[in-house]
């Protein structure tokens, strides 16, 4: 397996649900900065937080997060 990183569609799903970063942070029980860094790819959340985010956005973890080539 070549070098891969974790990409995400959190921003798109959040926009689809018409939620601000602060709204999503509130319901997920984390800070707005956490949501921002996850969206920017600076921080990869734990499985627990990924499941919470997927639940709050009404989707699955697989549709929120995906593997992508590192240089892609």
């Amino acid at each position: 397996m070549g070098e891969v990183r974790i990409g995400n569609r959190l921003k798109q799903w959040r926009a689809k649900k018409e939620l601000t970063q602060a709204d999503l942070a509130n319901v997920a029980g984390v800070s707005r900065k956490t949501i921002n860094t996850v969206e920017n790819g600076v921080f990869v959340p734990s499985v627990f937080l990924a499941l919470v985010l997927a639940r709050e956005l009404g989707t699955t973890v697989e549709s929120l997060f995906y593997l992508t080539p590192k240089n892609g």
């Binding site: 602060a22 029980g29 984390v30 800070s31 900065k33 921002n36 969206e39 600076v42 921080f43 734990s46």
Partner: protein, 225 residues
């Protein structure tokens, strides 16, 4: 967004007054320590001799007199203030001292320690007696920030981002401390007389590097992608 605006909002006049009172108290205590160290009133009164005896008695007197004053004259205000602080803690409104202020205090007390190290006797002992406890106090404060990073006094234990920041800060602090120890070891081999002077500097650097790493990561977390 409303909650964030509330958290970032300005200080109330009460907070402002409380802040100034705290500063006045600290300044008063520092002045009292200097006065006691130069005039040695307790040596004349009780026959205890030595800088540490003077300072220990002064702090005991200050703590007891403050407790009596608060209990006797400001009990209701004090209880209300305590309830307000508890509420601020619960609501996440109580913020830590900013990095710039922490750095300024730590570096200022480090400067005092360095001056005390090279000052001629009897000034050296007097300066070190005041500077070392203050320096260790600010170093302990900085260490608590490394172990529990974040802007708030009471953190959300479920906030994974802060745990991520902490891991980065500990890594940076560990690497800096190891490099500094190697430097100290080499200094001890070739110039032993500088080791005592360099120790507080090394401690400060090992504490400030993780703090600066946190500051950079926090700024990065604020920036939209």
């Amino acid at each position: 967004m409303g909650k964030l605006k509330q958290l970032d909002g300005g200080q109330s006049p009460q907070d402002h007054w409380r802040g100034w009172t705290r500063w006045a108290n600290t300044a008063g205590t520092v002045v009292a320590v200097w006065l006691v160290m130069y005039f040695k009133p307790f040596a004349y009164l009780f026959g205890f001799h030595g800088q540490w005896a003077e300072i220990s008695i002064l702090f005991a007197v200050l703590i007891v007199s403050k407790a009596i004053y608060l209990w006797g004259f400001r009990r209701s205000e004090q209880l209300a203030e305590l309830a307000a602080v508890k509420d601020d803690l619960r609501q996440g409104r109580l913020k830590r001292m900013p990095l710039a202020a922490r750095c300024a205090f730590l570096l200022a007390t480090l400067g005092l320690v360095c001056i005390g190290w090279y000052a001629p006797e009897p000034h050296s002992t007097k300066i070190l007696a005041l500077a070392v406890p203050l320096f260790l106090l600010f170093a302990a404060m900085e260490l608590s920030t490394v172990l529990r990073p974040g802007d708030l006094v009471l953190q959300n234990p479920r906030d994974e981002l802060l745990m991520f920041f902490r891991a980065r800060m500990l890594k940076a602090g560990y690497v800096t401390a190891i490099a500094a120890l190697v430097g100290l070891y080499l200094t001890s081999l070739f110039a032993t007389q500088y080791v005592g002077f360099l120790l507080p500097i090394v401690l400060t650097v090992s504490l400030l590097v993780p703090a600066l790493i946190y500051h950079r990561l926090d700024r990065l977390a604020e920036t939209d992608g």
